[in-house]
């Protein structure tokens, strides 16, 4: 990993290696490009917006540090984007993002202490019935839930099943008696619409 942009500014290496350090005074943030997002970026924005709360809370629960959790969460999403760019495979689902952030925190602990350390806040589990029955809807913020409610019916079904629950497009297509490509199309459209709804852009 050669560089990253964090809430603290530009770093010359992964934020995880230097998490917790403040930037020197006067260090400028890199400018935010002021252009319309590409379709893929907009789709990614919808994915990040709809799953950020879940991933962040997992990171916080595992690490016990709120500031570090923001870095872990950002790193997790950057990994998912990088995976898509480099391999062409899309793994943009909430369960995958959650597992990614858990791995990142585990790696962080290994680097910090040279050993595998039990997660700090593991006992504060908000998964009362285990990971497989995680209540995604309950973990959403009000804004995200409202945006979800405004999605057309099919897009809502597909985004909920594929992105939040982690059901594969093939499984869902079989259940709904659809072509797999139709599921992919609905997912793309749903994420893009979510991004637009959550960022306040007009349709």
């Amino acid at each position: 990993m050669t560089g990253s942009v964090s809430r603290r500014g530009a770093w010359s290496e992964s934020p995880l290696g230097r998490a917790g350090r403040a930037l020197p005074n006067g260090t400028a943030r890199p400018p935010t490009p002021d252009v319309d997002p590409q379709p893929l970026e907009e789709e990614f924005e919808g994915f990040v917006a709809s799953t950020y709360d879940t991933v962040f809370r997992t990171a916080w629960r595992k690490s016990g540090d709120r500031d570090l959790s923001q870095d872990f969460t950002q790193e997790a999403f950057l990994r998912l984007w990088k995976h898509r760019v480099e391999t062409g495979n899309q793994v943009w689902t909430a369960p995958y993002a959650v597992q990614t952030v858990k791995n990142i925190i585990l790696d962080h602990h290994r680097r910090q202490r040279g050993t595998v350390v039990p997660m700090a806040a593991e006992h504060l589990s908000d998964h009362p019935h285990g990971e497989d029955t995680y209540d995604w809807e309950r973990s959403m913020s009000t804004a995200v839930r409202n945006a979800f409610d405004r999605l057309p019916v099919r897009q809502r079904q597909v985004v909920d099943a594929v992105v939040l629950q982690g059901i594969t497009p093939a499984e869902l297509a079989r259940t709904m008696n659809l072509d797999r490509q139709t599921v992919y199309d609905y997912k793309r459209m749903g994420l893009r619409r979510l991004a637009r709804l959550l960022s306040g852009k007009t349709e």
Binding site: R66, Q74, V85, T87, S125, N177, R180, M189, L198, S199
Partner: protein, 123 residues
């Protein structure tokens, strides 16, 4: 830490979450090795898995045609959801010309999914 981690409520305010999301997207766009969508050699613009394959093994053409007959009848009576379903079913059996026609019809009848489909996929 200020907020109960065990509660089901999200730990961030709406503004905080919005800021964090924007930062992640800015980070994606700012990193040259991650923002190379559209460049020669990038695989990011490739279609998702699922494009250009045969009719799915779970699609039973007989059943689909039976459902199509009902869906088309209801769609011709002005039901936008049935029109969309007809488009989906034609797509499932890879009759893309008819599928496209039904997507457009469903969009004209006001189905929001179909409107987005025409806007983002067909046009």
């Amino acid at each position: 830490m200020g907020v109960d981690q065990r509660s089901g409520r999200p730990p961030l305010t709406e503004h905080e979450r919005g800021d964090r999301v924007r930062e992640i997207i800015a980070a994606v766009q700012a990193r040259p090795e991650l923002g190379r969508v559209g460049q020669v050699g990038s695989r990011a613009d490739l279609p998702c898995a699922g494009a250009a394959r045969g009719v799915e093994q779970w699609v039973n053409e007989e059943h689909v045609r039976a459902e199509l007959a009902d869906a088309e009848r209801a769609a011709l009576a002005g039901d936008c959801r049935s029109a969309r379903r007809a488009a989906e079913l034609y797509q499932a059996i890879h009759e893309f010309d008819r599928s496209t026609a039904w997507w457009r019809t469903a969009a004209e009848l006001g189905d929001e999914d179909a409107i987005d489909y025409v806007r983002y996929v067909l046009d």
